[in-house]
Amino acid sequence: MTRNGWLATAVWAALVIAATVVVVFAHYTTDLSAFLPRSPTPTQRLLVDQLREGIASRLILVGIEGADSAERARISIAMAKRLRADPQFVAVSNGEPVGVERDREVLFNHRYLLSETVTADRFTVPGLRDSIQETLDLLASPMGMIAKSLLPRDPTGEMLQIIDQLGSERQPPSLDGVWASRDGKRALLVAQTRAAGSDTDGQEAAVAAVRAAFDEAASEGAKAGHAATGAGEGNGVGASATGRERAGGTNGAMPGSGGIGGVAGPATSAGPGGRRAAASLEMSGPGVFSVAARANIKHQVAVLSVLSTLLITLMLLWVYRSFRALVLGLVPVASGALAGISAVALGFGSVHGITLGFGVTLIGESVDYSIYLFIQSQQRNSALWPTIRLGVLTSIVGFMSLLPSGFPGLQQLGLFSISGLVTAALVTRYVLPNLMPPKLNIGDVTPLGTEVGAALQRVRAPRALLLIIPVLAAVVLYTHRGSVWNHELSALSPISAADQALDSMLRSDIGAPDVSYLVVVSGPSQEAVLRAAEAADPGLEALVDQKVISGFESPARYLPSLEAQRARQASIPNAEVLKGNLVSALRGLPIQIDRLDPFLHDIDAARNQPLLTREDLDGTSLSTGVDALLLNDGPRWSALLPLHVPTTVAIDIGRVHSAISDVAFGPGVEAVVLDVKGEVDRLYSSYLNAVVRLSLAGFAGIVVLLTLFLRSPARTARVVAPLALAVLTVTAGLVLLGEQLTILHLIGMLLIVAVGSNYALFFDTHAGSSPLTLASLVIANTATVLGFGVLAFSSVPVLSALGSTVAPGAFLALVFSALLADEHHANPV
């Protein structure tokens, strides 16, 4: 080995060790962040914050199916008890009246500060008479029992007004004392995690905790056996609310207990008779999805890389007939993958799962270099390295077009490919020859090359026919021009359709905030945004009346601005005036003033009571409501006002915009209407358009590069034409198969150009005359097709998109390169 050889090998070994360390300690994510912009606008930032950390991202929706309703309720209660004690969860709701007492106490004690009907008019003689008459009317109604107990202290009905404001109507129905789906076949529970939705590790732990709580609760039931059934039937007030329970208890098995999602974990709860179906668990929510997606991507990346490595290994072993050559051939591949991952980890701070999946694809490509080296080193070929160098440069130019995309996921892929390919090429060039024995004994592939060459001669004649392909492809693309691209980000989502269906079912059962539409008001202080939320209230209320939206939430309902609270306090007259007004108001009403002494006492105290603060809500379920809707990021505060949408149809966002823009907000406060899904899709669509443009620029860059190196437009055309034909054919083929193209298909096209440029260049310089060159190209191509072909079968959409584009594309690039080659003279590089 030469001195330079030793040096190169030593540098390589050191870098491999360093890269391994980086790869081991790198942080891996699978959340949406890779598809969100790096330098967002304020609206996009709000959007990203919501998707990553917002309340909706922290919800785990749980459905309990199977068994009977009493058993499901028992499991729900036992699970909730366990999860409430777990610090990983901020709140767990299943319809049990947990903390209701404390909530009511806080609301009742602050009713004159919270109730929106507390205005100066309220305590005039007519105001008092009307509100007390209203309460008396309520006494006559079935709700009278509630009204009666409140009457002496709250004759104007402020407490019921507050309950109205907070909108208890969104709760799911109850069965056996816990939330159940409308059809009564599923018990429901909602857990809010402390970990943000983007914290996949935290979500994974939370998901595991939910599953453990279910398993424990369900197995307790199994132990209790028939005892549980008996208890369910005779159980007090709640169980017998309708008299249906008995039927439910003996009916046993409910249909559909098998579960829908892949996340169902069966647990037995069958009694000794075994007649009842086992209860099963279903979970959904952004966190659950990202955990499942990460596991799925990890699993698939592992399986697919093993599979493609195995296939390529077998093929190379068959070709080389040398174990040593095989191992040596994988050195550049592994080095490239290591370099790619560590470059991304160092450049971006974390590696996205999709980038990792992309590592699999590199196996199929970087193995080419060593194949060229081993096979072509058997012949004198001075043009080998210059050709490979130009091929690598071509790939770099192509992938560089991804770097300015402003889309971290694509930037990662670009950086990964460039560093991976350069490393693989450099290792092949400078390290591999040092590791090779003086004479590498590999199988003779000359016969293969000769055979392929002969076959090419036979089919080369009618190559004018190739012109038909671009024409046909153009026709196909033109007729499908409206639907070639998929502009929805969900096209890239690794979440299966079944899981999405489960999610929307649980979501509609629970009435969980869909958070598709939000009004967000931001300002310099909590007080400022609470005031702004109050200012937006009348406009939004009008939209509810006009049925544009079905409702909305506001943090100011739980925690009014200090200004509003002070105004309410100020509207309460002093004790003498109030008493005088009350005496007049009660004239003609069937109630004596001394009955209302508690009211006079309470309201006088309310005039001077300390204002309600966020701390007063501690320990109540109201605090979770406020914290979800009131965000603080440094000096900036935001209040979220989620809009409730009547059905699943899109709302008239324009009317919300105009309702908000009419409001005069305070200084430094701004309001935006956020259409989350629409915004995400617009964002993705703009990326897609940008990347299409960038890819075309990359293609132009490749043409310029080739023209510079080859110094002949004709030669450039001969190199570029097969690549363009391959891309066109594959695109048209995918469109014909009904596939809608995503950003990942586009990456696949770049890969076709990157891989295919090597083929075209070899044909350009050697005119395919050497059987060894031909053989090496066929083998390299087979490796690529195997590597990507395996990906095409992945259930992760981004991986299958890559596979189904590159595998056929690489094959076609080789075929077209061979057919278009000028067989009569070889050109120097």
Partner: protein, 190 residues
């Protein structure tokens, strides 16, 4: 031998005449639909005079009961499949009965009686029957001690398969009396 005698005794008991309570319940259970008018008077100690309301009751076997109050303020209360929904003015409520245990027995006593569902009644109340099929009285006392703190007794009077009055006596001495009369509309008489 003793065993055989016991079986014979059981059979004889079964063949014996049905109790008047079961007969009333059976007759009530046969009515699948009902549509009646009601007036309700609530005597509340806090108030100088009773508050009155009136409206209609609609019933569909076995578990849909609608109480349509027309006066003094329109209010619609529907019990269906264990869920109570109420419509009052613009507002729409869904009540979780477990959170309002005071409301439950009022509704359940009427519903279970209308359905002739003795088992459901006996799950919530201690049931005492006096009178005969022609003219009967039901005294319902809540089994649940918590419930007994708000509701002392429910007294239902009727003849054959028709309910005349439902009186609810609360623990604090307040009471309400609902009087039922034949349907205002001619479609289905109770």
């Amino acid at each position: 031998m003793n065993k055989v005698l016991a079986v014979v005794a059981l059979l004889l008991m079964g063949a014996a005449e049905v109790s008047p309570l079961d007969r009333v319940m059976g007759a009530l259970a046969e009515r699948k639909h009902g549509h009646v008018s009601f007036t309700e008077k609530k005597f509340i100690a806090l108030l100088d005079q009773p508050v009155e309301s009136s409206g209609e009751l609609l019933y569909d076997a076995p578990d849909r009961l609608e109480k349509k109050t027309l006066k003094p303020k329109p209010e619609d209360l529907v019990l269906e499949g264990g869920v109570v929904t109420a419509q009052r003015g613009k507002r729409h409520y869904t009540l979780d009965l477990k959170q309002y245990p005071q409301v439950l027995p009022f509704i359940e006593s009427i519903r279970a009686t209308l359905a002739g569902d003795r088992a459901a009644l006996e799950r919530v109340f201690k049931v005492e029957f006096t009178g005969d099929f022609e003219r009967w009285n039901l005294e319902l006392a809540p089994l649940d001690s918590k419930l007994a703190k708000t509701v002392q007794k429910i007294h239902i009077e009727g003849e054959k398969d028709f309910i005349h009055t439902v009186e609810i006596r609360e623990a604090d001495g307040d009471r309400s009396l609902m009087t039922i009369s034949a349907a205002a509309s001619p479609d289905v008489g109770q």
